[in-house]
Symmetry: C2
Subunit: 340 residues, 2 copies
């Protein structure tokens, strides 16, 4: 059994001595050892080499003492497995040379055998579980189908995802077929991850907040909820939808074990909207750039506001690459000292 | 007197036969005639040449029949007037070669004489008022001090404005001094615009939604409210803070004549939070890419939800450059036919 199971107990809604803590995007970015690896191996090499993925996944457990590990990987391995070419361009981000724009493009997509196409992920999970030696739980993740659609239709990151929305609004039949194909692949992928050993899975809806409340229900939440329903008896599913404060109330009625909250939602309002659901979040990642005494103070205030139970301490989005390691440590340590 | 004064009557909270309509970023972008001018003159030449600014400002009045004109200009003319070099790079956006990063940088900024430094804006206003011939009101605008700070500290557009936040969170004294300098300049600038002839002014807080509710009060709303208080007896001030749903209730207690609302806020919730204040918005700009019958239906539904009074129909953010002109026209026409 897992020695430090605070994270899993919070997901089950059990009373805990203190809330667990981890940080979105903790595997990499802000750690000097990660940056050294990044200079040696390109992005997808790091994802596809189980030894590297394992090393990166474990770094923050060893170096800053988080209560859960999250497998180093990327949300875009799903479209890659579906036969869509994804490049990671330095100083640019993801680039999809042949984006999905027509019914014909959608029809051409064949659902992959994830155990074959993404075997490297499953190998990385098994290796990481072994290395973790049951110290802390391991989280697996996937992007939400809408967020994946954002990239594969737009062809790259965007401030508006106008091409993706245009596709949805002018060709909703094809858009929904594509979303369903991504959803089915994601369910198979997360199921395989659970079989390989992850203890919980998180869905990242990074671009849900681009949609109006009505469109969010149709183009994003409908599919996330399918994933939750498919996996709820096999594992814990955590749904994090950035910018989707307006959907929190509906999301809290789902079978998700927890909901992520970004830093634009006041903790007390988040509690009011979500009827006792375990919540995860929500410090502004940029606030880890504040002086350490302020980080400590804000972290305590945040735990007081959410309450120590049914709560997983985290940031409201991914940790910024320029976060000093000792600032991240101060954040983690403050949680560990909470209530002592 | 202005012949079509629907917009001004809505700002005063008067009963109207139908709500007025205009579109953020209507001056330019989606109009083929604008794109022809853009190919001939660079960005700041268009801003700084009163004849060009006038021509671009009037285009949407003539071509799609909006109920208000908004002067073609840019929020970054303020830092330019303050002696901060701002370049507009094609396919990149604003670029500030020497960003504000230290107390020394802040100290070096001298408040400009806006009537001298931004005389070209005042000339454009006078010329536009003459050309408009009192058909519809003319709106002037400025960026919020926080949004200006985002650019001049970061040095360019950003998904996180991490450098700007780092400056605020590690050097709050210098950050507040800089925000105050921008605020004082903005007040003088908007006052000069009112004298030159604009009928109302709108503050655009494009990046307010990057801040937590607590930080928003400290780094953004505090300064926007100073501008509102300084100008409330001279003109109508409209405050639009994208992504700041969490601040709407506080903002509704201010002396702003109206509040802009983005498309992530359900109209009925916006009404509930704002206690009868005139609201402006909030269709997703990407929804103007939908087929025309859908645009008409959604526009009617939106007006029904906000109610025809104390309401200015608009998008929830700037019109997308790829919006077909006849789609924009369908949006405007639907408002004009409302209730007939």
């Amino acid at each position: 059994m897992i020695k430090n199971d605070l994270y899993l107990r919070a997901l089950k809604g059990e009373i805990v001595e203190r809330p667990p803590v981890w940080m979105m995007r903790q595997a990499g970015r802000f750690l000097p050892d990660f940056r050294a690896l990044r200079d040696k191996y390109d992005f997808f090499t790091r994802c596809q080499t189980p030894e590297l993925a394992t090393e990166i996944t474990i770094m923050p457990v060893k170096q800053v003492g988080v209560d859960a590990a999250i497998l180093f990987s990327d949300i875009l391995v799903i479209p890659q497995a579906m036969g869509i070419e994804v490049q990671m361009k330095p100083n640019f981000g993801p680039y999809i040379p042949n984006p999905i724009r027509t019914q014909k493009d959608v029809d051409a997509i064949v659902l992959p055998d994830v155990n074959h196409e993404l075997k490297y992920v499953m190998d990385a999970i098994k290796m990481t579980k072994q290395e973790l030696n049951n110290e802390v739980p391991l989280i697996g993740f996937a992007g939400s189908p809408w967020t994946i659609l954002c990239y594969i239709v737009q062809g790259q990151g965007s401030k508006t995802y106008d091409k993706t929305k245009e596709f949805c609004f002018t060709n909703p039949v094809a858009a929904h077929q594509m979303l369903q194909k991504v959803t089915d692949t994601t369910i198979a992928y997360l199921r395989a991850k659970v079989k390989a050993g992850v203890d919980a899975v998180q869905i990242f809806d990074s671009w849900g907040g681009m949609l109006s409340p009505v469109d969010y229900q149709e183009f994003s939440w409908f599919y996330i909820n399918q994933i939750i329903e498919a996996l709820k008896d096999e594992t814990h599913v955590i749904a994090f939808a950035k910018g989707c404060w307006y959907a929190l109330e509906d999301m809290s009625k789902s079978n998700a074990s927890a909901l992520g909250v970004d830093w634009t939602v006041d903790p007390k309002l988040a509690r009011k909207l979500t009827n006792g659901k375990t919540l995860q979040g929500n410090m502004d990642p940029a606030r880890l750039l504040s002086p350490i005494p302020e980080i400590k103070k804000m972290t305590k205030t945040m735990i007081d506001a959410f309450g120590k139970d049914n709560y997983i301490v985290n940031l409201g989005h991914g940790i910024l690459p320029n976060t000093p390691v000792d600032h991240a440590k101060a954040f983690i340590e403050t949680v560990k000292e909470y209530g002592i």
